[in-house]
Symmetry: C2
């Protein structure tokens, strides 16, 4: 089994595909006014989700999303053997308090905005190996809790540079199974921490693009494939600035991905009308775009095969204020339509 | 394969055992003066590890530990396919900056002080399934970076209540392989988030004991075993207060673990002489005790079979200050001597 499974330096080919049985996405009001509004399961008008704090609101959003994914798979909570989940908040409090009531064993994950890629990877590895019949992979981010943590309290009304991105208020969840589903995870390439020494926390795209380039190039080598083997290569939240850097880095490696590249951060908001500058970001950005728009297209066979590459910027206010650079990480997941 | 592998509600039995090829532990000066001093690979007198900040010092400590574990396994960095690692700091900055230079794919994990249990679990699952020949599981904590983040800057010289524990400055790392090693991981029971509503961040033992009890009871049921099937049942950092609560909770479930229970937090410091109050804590506490003292005993056959149950308290200063409770999580790993 091993020689079939371990591919190249950093990849796994799933000998039997792992099925995505269902996906769910819940977003806040701003995302609900954007170009992808018709693809979301739920648009919640009250960004506090009825709670007293932004953090509790984010937890409630993740809880609703996971519940909905399980319901859409026609399963019950007790059918799910493991949760693989994470968020952006220190010590994963959105995940802890959001998923506590499910009474399902939890693997807490942190890969910054690449977390849903890490969750789908470990979830698929778990299902393929027979450790679980059903698992849930989930991630969330919330504009207000993220701004409060990483930048400034909303009340300050600070100015944002044009290279900055807008953290998506959204959560995406996926039920994986070896039995049935309308899309399949057929391979993964797991990313390394990549540091180009960028220190500007208002320019996350520049921090993450090198990690995206690194894992995409490695994926091409490991699987012996090329950009045109995919209908789309989907990065998480590089935004307008990061997208250009990725194109440059890929071309330096001899790859032109321009015909198939899509960035969730660019798609999710209508710029400049929604005033989000370089685009959307956060774990929720790639999670809800995959769970909604992309899954719809995979379900209908409009997309046959995509490479999903959510990207994360690895910083905290402590590391940033101490003058450290902002390294990136990205995890690639091959998703194919069953049609 | 599946029916042999999935055991009960929350457990996996590894049909072929996963071997621990090597372990390494590096600690700070206070730990080096404690009762376990002769079991550590390295005791570093300068708690900054030669760096400018506590956080960079923690990263350097983790880097040295992982390097040493790989060296002790007589492997090279490029032999390691995945790193499974985490720490206590927001956005896992100790891990990111500590493991960046290894150029090895990273799964970032957060389970608070249970993180090494989560890392060993996912690492063993990965090796058993043939996804990797060699992986490293690692975790760290640092007294100064943790106090700064969770409580008060050291310069305040605040008073600590007697129920509080002392975050261990230490990092433990393990190389796992399916081929050879002196100890074996033969099963795991993955924990759920358990909340008893405790809100006292100076009494982590009380926050975590319910999670430990929950996963240990579930382990007994899933594997159909009893306390005396183990030479030791080793919790991570319950301390003196948490140990008593665990004994009470276990007895309510009809189990008496007193003859075999050991808590790393109680063993690692000499109380009251080292003035650490209820004991040691942090990801490093259970990691270095397992990597040093317990692995030595497993290697020599003094211990034949242990249940290792590191425990984590799931809070951040944000969740705490917003009045949330402090839930716990614990992950159980069965480790057997090869002798």
């Amino acid at each position: 089994m091993k020689s079939q499974t371990q591919i190249g330096k950093q990849s796994i080919r799933f000998v039997k595909p792992v099925f995505i049985m269902s996906s769910a996405c819940v977003v806040g009001p701003k995302e609900g006014e954007g170009p992808l509004k018709d693809t979301f399961d739920e648009i919640v008008e009250d960004a506090t989700f009825g709670k007293d704090t932004w953090e509790e609101g984010e937890s409630e959003m993740m809880k609703q999303t996971v519940s909905l994914a399980i319901k859409k798979a026609k399963l019950k909570e007790e059918d799910i053997r493991y949760l693989f989940a994470g968020d952006l908040l220190g010590q994963l409090i959105a995940t802890t308090f959001g998923l506590m009531d499910f009474n399902i064993p939890l693997f807490g994950l942190y890969g910054a905005c690449s977390t849903i890629g890490e969750a789908l990877s470990l979830g698929a590895m778990t299902v393929q190996a027979g450790y679980a019949d059903y698992v849930v992979a989930a991630a969330s981010s919330h504009f207000a809790s993220a701004e409060k943590q990483f930048r400034f309290p909303l009340e300050y009304g600070n100015q944002r540079p044009m290279s900055s991105t807008w953290t998506v208020t959204g959560s995406g969840a996926f039920v994986l199974s070896e039995k049935e589903g309308y899309a399949m995870i057929t391979g993964i390439t797991t990313g390394k921490v990549v540091d180009y020494g960028v220190k500007d926390s208002s320019n996350m795209g520049a921090c993450m693009a090198p990690a995206a380039a690194d894992v995409i190039c490695q994926h091409f080598q490991d699987f012996q494939v090329a950009p045109d083997d995919y209908d789309k290569i989907v990065t998480g939240d590089l935004g307008i600035v990061g997208k250009e850097i990725l194109a440059t880095l890929m071309s330096e490696h001899g790859y032109d991905i321009s015909a198939v590249h899509m960035d969730c951060g660019i798609e999710i908001f209508d710029n400049p009308n929604q005033d989000t500058h370089a685009g959307g970001s956060g774990c929720g950005c790639s999670s809800v775009t995959l769970a909604g728009a992309l899954m719809n297209d995979l379900k209908q066979g409009k997309l046959k095969k995509i490479l999903f590459v959510p990207t994360g910027a690895l910083l905290s206010t402590v590391s940033y204020n101490e003058g450290q650079s902002i390294p990136g990480i990205a995890h690639a997941v091959v998703i194919e339509s069953k049609l």
